[in-house]
Amino acid sequence: MRLYAAVAVSGFKRYATYRVATVAGVFTNTVFGFILAYTYTALWDERPHLGGYDLAQALTFVWLGQALLAAVGLLGGGFEEELQERIRSGDIAVDLYRPVDLQTWWLAAELGRALFQLLGRGVVPMAVGALVFELRMPASPLTWLWFLLSVALAVCVGFAVRYVVSLASFWLLDGTGLSMLSGLLCLFFSGMILPLNVFPGQLGEIARALPWAAMLQVPADVFLEEHRGAGLLAAFVFQAGWMVVLLAAGRVLQSVATRKVVVQGG
C-alpha cells in the first residue's frame, strides 16, 4: 500500500514539473470553454430548458467539462501512450517481472496525475468561466464533497477504459489508432461535445448507460444537483459498477496477455 502511495505521489510530482505545459493546457481549456459556451448560449437561446437544463446549468456543464478534461483523461493521455510504447518495445517484459501488480501500479500513478491535473488544469478554467458567465454553483456545501467523490470514480472509470485499450497493443502492436478511436468515442459519449441528456430518444438512453457517461455526465449532474437522495446513490452505484467491471476486464486481459508474452519470450 505504501508503495502505491509513493507511486501516486510521484505521478503527481511528475506532472507538476511541467509548468509551461500546465499553463498551456489551462489556456487551451479556457479557449475551448469560451467557444463552447458561446455555441451553447445560441443553442439554449433557441430552446430554453433543453435537456432539462437552464442556460446557467448548460454553461456550468461546459466549464465542468473543460475542468475535468485533463483529470479524467477524456481526450486520452496520461499513462496510455507510455504503456503502449512499453508494450511495443518489449520493455513490458521487465515490468512483468517486478514484484508489483501492473494494473495497480499504473492506477496509482494515474490517480496522482489526475489530482494534479484537477488542481493545475481544472481550477483556473472553472474560475475564468465563473467570472465571465453566470454559472450554477452548488447550493449545498455537501455537494462539493459528493462531486469530488464522483470525480474520483470518474477518474477510475477513465483509467479502466484506457487500460483495456492500451493492453490491446499486445495484439495490435501499434495501438495509436485504437487509442485515437477510443478518445473520439469518449469525447462524444461522455457528453463533452453535447450533454447526454440532450441526445434524443433511444440514442440518449444508450449513451447514458455506457461507461463514458460515468466520466463526465454523472459528475456534472452531481455538481448541478440533478441527483438527490436515492438518485445520488444510484449515480454512484452506476459509476462504481462500471469501474469494477472495466477494472476486472483489464485484469483478465492482462493475464491473457502475460501468458502470451511468456510464450513469445520463450
Binding site: 509551461v20 498551456a24 493546457g25 458561446y38 443553442l43 433543453l50 489508432g177 468515442l185 462524444f188 441526445f199
Partner: protein, 254 residues
Amino acid sequence: MWVRSTMAYRTSFLIMTLGNLLATGLDFVAIALMFTHIGQLGGFTLDEVAFLYGTTSVAFGLADLTLGSMGRLGRRVRDGTMDTLLVRPVPILAQVAADRFALRRLGRITQGAVLLGWSLSRLDIDWTVDRALLMPVMLLSGGAIFGALFVLGGAFQFWAKDASEVQNAFTFGGTTLLEYPPTVFGKELLRGVTFVIPLAFVNWLPALYILGRPDPLGLPARIGFAAPLVACGCCAVAGLAWRAGLRAYQSTGS
C-alpha cells in the same frame, strides 16, 4: 518511410483510417443532434452549418496532412533528437513535416469532403463564376493559414519546449470555432479572429460570400477574396518565426 512503417501494422492502419473517418465525424453528429431540437443556430440552417463544417475540415485536414507532425517538435527539442535533423542535408521544415507522417490523416479530409459534398447538394447556391472560383481558393488558402499556424506553433516550441497545447488552442480550437456560424459568437471574438489571428479567412468570410450572407462585423461582402493574400501574409510570418526559432535553438547539452 513512414508510409511503409504504418503499413507494417496493417490491422492497426485499417482500424485507424476507418476509425478516423467515422469518429472525426462524431462532432458533426453532435451538431446534427443539436438540430433535432432547433431549426436554426445563430440564424444558420443545418445545411449551412454542414458547409462551414466541411470547409473547415478540408482546410484543416490539408494542413494536418502535411504539417500535423509539428506538435511533436517539442518532444524532439526536449530529448535532443532535434540535433539529428540539423545535420542532415534536407530542409529541416521538410524533415519535421515528414516525421511520423501518417496516412490516416487522410480520414479527416475525406470526412470533410463528404460533408461538404452533402451540404452542396442540399444548398441552393447562386453559382456565379466568382463564387465557383472562390471555392477552391478558400480551401487552399484555408489550408495555408492553418499550416502557417502549425509552423508558428512549432517555432514557438523552440522556446517553450513543451507547449504544444497552446498550438492546439489555435488549430483544434480554431476548427471548432469555424464549424459554427460566426453569428453565434461575440463581436470581440469575431474581431480577434478577423484582425489579430485571421482565422475568419479560412472559411467564414469566403463562405459568407458564397452563401450570400452579410458579415456580422459589417465588412464588405467581397472581403473573402482577400483570403489568399492573408494566407501569404501568414506564411511569411510563420517562415520568419521558424527561422528565428531555429536560430534560438540550443541543444539539450547532455
